[in-house]
């Protein structure tokens, strides 16, 4: 996995509010969680929330699914796995270098 892609993902996770959002989305499972529910749960203005969601989308950490007027945010679990994989594989101790 490309280091720039990993850095991008880590960067977007590296903000307290966004990390909270992401945590809520992940814990919501495969069905996801509505944007409105996130707003209620985290008590932040809609526009601010929307910006943060865009950031997470831009890193492909989450995706969205529409159901009527409601947009659900769903975690891209594979992305998180590959980021964790990078940290474990590329950033491990190597006595030969």
């Amino acid at each position: 996995m490309d280091i720039d892609v990993v850095a991008k993902a880590l960067k977007e996770l590296g903000h307290p509010t966004r990390l909270s959002i992401y945590k809520s989305v992940v814990r919501a499972g495969y069905q996801g969680i509505a944007v409105g529910s996130l707003q209620e749960k985290l008590a932040i203005p809609g526009s601010t929330l929307s910006h943060h969601i865009s950031s997470l989308l831009s890193a492909e950490l989450i995706s969205q699914r529409r159901e009527g007027r409601t947009l659900f945010c769903v975690a891209e679990y594979k992305k998180l796995q590959s980021v964790i994989g990078f940290l474990q594989d590329e950033c491990c101790i190597d006595e030969n270098s």
Copy 2:
């Protein structure tokens, strides 16, 4: 582990140059790698490198050890482990919430 602490660590890792620095430091093992070696290896100006190293230090992702005039950067492996742990534990699927 506090979410703000994790976010801080992720934020500092979320920059391509810093992630490269961190990767080199981690792979250098417990002996660490000299600041000068990092500069040579990554070909960036000393002042820029120094700022990035400060960022990593501020997140306690690395520490330093002096040997004569040379400063070695050493990875704080426990920190990485706890960040990975957070992502795996706090950000796992939970069907009951």
